[in-house]
């Protein structure tokens, strides 16, 4: 797994690619998110469109990111979730916790409109 991260309109967009599963690469992503929050990022979109698989650890990273951002008054939103991830979110009832959007642009727009 690897990831790209960029900033657009004051929102950090992270795009993980491949398998979001337990391993050193996933921990790097975890560290990256923690570091971004530490240096002041408050709005974040995780674009999951290019994630093939996700396991419980991958889900844990998303939850941790959400928690840490909400603790500082920020928000983490998910974009382009695949069917598999959607069913994972539904089973774990996390679909009610995360705000999910069909595209990154929609997610960005939602930050501006405050919805």
């Amino acid at each position: 797994m690897n990831y790209e991260s960029k900033e657009k309109e004051g929102v950090v967009i992270i795009t993980p690619k491949g398998k979001m599963m337990a391993g050193p690469d996933l921990e790097k992503l975890h560290d990256k998110i923690k570091e971004l929050v530490r240096i002041g990022a408050r709005r974040m979109v995780i674009d999951l469109g290019e994630v093939e698989l996700m396991d419980s650890r991958g889900l844990g990273i998303l939850v941790a990111g959400l928690t840490s951002l909400r603790n500082v008054g920020g928000e983490l939103k998910l974009a382009r979730i695949t069917n598999k991830i959607e069913s994972l979110l539904v089973i774990t009832h996390l679909s009610k916790v995360f705000k999910t959007y069909g595209s990154v642009d929609e997610a960005l727009k939602s930050f501006q409109t405050g919805s």
Binding site: D55, S56, R57, V63, T92
Partner: protein, 743 residues
């Protein structure tokens, strides 16, 4: 050829040998007291031999008539007896200074007094008549007579004493010499017993036996005849004297040079060349100076004192650098022969490759160095972390001298940049009471050898002063450099070995942890007339993040299947915590939703947010045939009705351990005889055969097919199907399956 001519020749040879030996030892390190003392002793020994040669020549030519002019010169012969106090001093400072010498500095001069007095005595008071004149009041001037007349009695006694002393001075000093030699031998004998270093011990023993033998011969040749008034025939006398000289001084010289771990032949050849070339240089200089002086005198026509001073200054300016260059050149010429050196290196490498324990390497190396290079203390300091970091920790041998040294330590930086054995006095930092400098000073280090492994800082070999006080020879420094390379390899090996051991130990611990986890699983599955269970557990890595357990509440049977996020040890620890919490919380007969909420709160409070657990909890009432359950983010368990109809148990809430605010719902289902409940962790449906996962569809289809089987039968069908699907691919995630059949 007469005996005496042969004797003269041998005396001269002995004398030359002893002077040469003395010069070699003096030149080896002029600043060392041991060296100076030894050289002094050898010079006096050589003087003795030289005087013996002169004496025999004079006796042969008949120039030694009593009262003749030569007699007073001949009395200078007694100068050589200073050999005995020098010998005693040697015994006091070799191989190390005794406390007595260190505490009473005057002692080392005081022991020369009797002999100095003797020399003075025989040189200036050549006859007893002269003596009695000195002490006779009658022969003094008028003033002295008046002043000293009350003491005339004392003076007369003194005159008598001196007269007697003069008559017997040879005998008396024979005794003194004998007692000095005996004291020296006794001192060496008693001190060698307490020497820690076996090789130095054997060197001192060599000196001891040499000196003992020499003193015996000397006693027979001179002291006994002097005491008892007989004389030996010349051949015997020569044989005994020469034997004593050669054996005694030879033993001392040999022991001293061997003691240095250098090839004696090399030193001798080197020094011989040095002296000969020096002699040549001096001769050339004198000739040139004389010629030049004559030329200047001829042209200027006057003898100028400034000229002499000019020559001396010229010599001082000219000789010092030339002699140094000469010394260097000779050393370089002779340094190639070093068999000892090679043997030592070979031994080092042979021993080091077979040791895999850092402490043992450290102990062995320091022992070898202390023994072979005669170093008072050698310590191997090992760096625990990389110098690139800020902290470097040292530990040494059995005692741990652990101390943090900053990567910015000035001394450390110098040593790392020099990469070779370094005399610390040359690079000592301004503040030697800090960091590495303090540590090195603490172990008495004089030389530090940095040990590097491909540029990585491995440690420092800290070496104290040489036991002899000699400086480290160029060979020593080369040897230490090569040794540092070998040590870096040996320590790397040892570290790898230790890592392997550590890995093994970790694996053993993991196996133990797995055993503990296995023991936490219910030993027996509950069964009754109303229900039965079957279970399957397969952790992906030794210990797993899945577990199931049964918790009773009066006559109701509670059971849980949970899956902690992640794998391995962290997941297993989380699961253990959960299991204990559930057992404790289960005692309070609260509604299921509240029960899960309390578990959630405890987990949120005690774990980081990315750690969570999905769990399915159910409480079965056998009498009512009802199943109460709550599903906290877990894969939906499949309820297979007797007729093959499937239901999924979804009611509940989100995962446990993430959100403090999470609330959990519960549901109640009738569970009738023949119904089957299949609870599993996602490891089962995620099991893959490289291309695809086993998946829920396959499991659901399978579940529908086996509604008629008993619990064990259902479990086996599913496990067989999964194993057939994945083939030899090892499980990526923990796999747990719990099947309940109502009856």
């Amino acid at each position: 050829m007469s005996w005496s001519a042969l004797g003269t020749g041998i005396y001269l040879a002995c004398s030359f040998f002893l002077f040469l030996l003395g010069m070699v030892i003096l030149r080896e390190n002029f600043r060392s007291r041991v060296n100076r003392t030894t050289a002094l002793m050898l010079f006096f020994g050589g003087l003795g031999a030289l005087f013996a040669a002169v004496g025999t020549t004079l006796a042969r030519t008949g120039g030694l008539a009593p009262g003749s002019e030569t007699e007073s010169w001949y009395n200078l012969f007694y100068l050589w007896e200073l050999f005995f106090p020098a010998l005693l001093l040697f015994a006091l400072v070799f191989p190390k200074e005794t406390d007595a010498v260190r505490r009473f500095r005057l002692l080392r001069y005081a022991i020369f007094l009797p002999h100095l007095f003797h020399v003075f005595w025989v040189s200036f008071l050549s006859s007893p008549e002269k003596l009695s004149g000195w002490f006779s009041v009658e022969e003094m001037g008028p003033l002295a007579r008046v002043l000293l007349s009350p003491f005339s009695y004392v003076l007369r006694v003194a005159a008598l004493f001196f007269a007697v002393a003069y008559k017997f001075h040879v005998r008396f000093f024979s005794l003194v010499n004998f007692s000095y030699a005996a004291m020296a031998i006794a001192l060496l004998f008693f001190r060698q017993a307490s020497l820690p270093n076996p090789r130095i011990k054997s060197q001192v023993r060599l000196i001891l036996s040499g000196l003992g033998l020499a003193m015996t011969l000397y006693t027979i040749a001179f002291i006994l005849p002097a005491l008892f008034g007989f004389s030996l025939s010349d051949p015997w006398l020569y044989a005994l004297t020469i034997g004593a000289l050669v054996i005694g001084c030879g033993a001392v010289g040999w022991a001293i040079l061997r003691y240095q771990f250098m090839d004696v032949r090399v030193i001798f050849r080197q020094n011989l060349v040095y002296f000969l070339s020096t002699g040549l240089l001096v001769a050339v200089y004198i000739l040139a100076a004389a010629q030049l002086g004559r030329y200047i005198r001829n042209t200027l026509g006057a003898k100028t004192p400034a000229l002499e001073i000019g020559f001396i200054l010229l010599a001082l300016v000219f000789f010092q650098p030339v002699m140094e260059k000469l010394d260097d050149l000779i050393k370089r010429l002779f340094i190639r022969q070093r068999s000892d050196f090679r043997n030592l290196l070979e031994r080092f490498s042979r021993e080091l490759v077979s040791i895999f324990d850092l402490n043992q390497i450290s102990a062995r190396v320091t022992e070898l160095l202390e023994k072979e290079l005669f170093i008072e203390r050698a310590v191997l300091l090992l760096a625990e972390s990389d110098a690139g970091g800020t902290l470097v920790t040292f530990s040494s041998g059995n005692e741990v001298l652990a101390q943090s040294v900053s990567g910015e330590d000035p001394l450390l930086k110098i040593l790392l940049s020099r990469k070779q054995p370094t005399y610390l006095e040359a690079v000592w930092p301004e503040r030697p009471d800090e960091g590495l400098a303090r540590l090195l000073a603490g172990v008495g280090a004089k030389v530090a050898v940095p040990i590097l492994d491909e540029g990585r800082f491995v440690g420092i070999l800290a070496l104290g002063e040489k036991f002899s006080g000699f400086r480290y020879s160029p060979e020593d420094i080369t040897l230490l450099g090569v040794l540092a390379n070998q040590l870096s390899i040996a320590t790397a090996n040892a570290r790898l070995y230790a890592e392997t051991l550590e890995k093994q130990r970790l694996e053993e611990e993991l196996a133990m942890a797995r055993q503990i986890q296995q023991n936490l699983l219910p030993a027996r599955l509950p069964s009754s007339a109303e229900y039965e269970f079957a279970s399957y557990v397969r952790p992906s890595r030794q210990v797993g993040g899945d577990f199931y357990d049964f918790l009773w509440r009066e006559n109701q049977l509670g059971f849980v299947l949970a899956d902690a996020s992640g794998k391995g040890m962290p997941a297993a620890l989380l699961v253990s915590f959960l299991q204990a919490t559930m057992k404790a919380e289960h005692r309070y007969a609260r509604p299921i939703g509240e029960f899960i909420s309390s578990i959630n709160e405890l987990l949120v409070a005690h774990t980081s947010p990315e750690k969570f657990v999905t769990l399915f909890y159910a409480l079965f009432d056998p009498r009512e045939k009802k199943l109460f359950y709550s599903n906290a983010g877990h894969n939906y368990p499949i309820l297979v009705r007797q007729d093959g109809h499937l239901e999924f148990l979804k009611k509940g809430g989100t995962v446990v351990g993430c959100f403090e605010w999470a609330r959990y719902e519960s549901d109640c289902m009738p569970l009738l005889p023949g119904d089957t409940l299949i609870v599993y962790s996602d490891g089962l449906t995620d099991a893959s055969n490289h291309d695809e996962m086993f998946g829920e569809e396959r499991l659901i289809k399978l579940a529908a097919e086996c509604c008629h089987l008993d619990a064990e039968g259902v479990k086996n069908r599913i496990v067989e199907a999964v194993e057939a699907f994945t083939g030899p691919v090892p499980p990526f995630d923990d796999m747990t399956l719990l099947v309940m059949k109502a009856r």
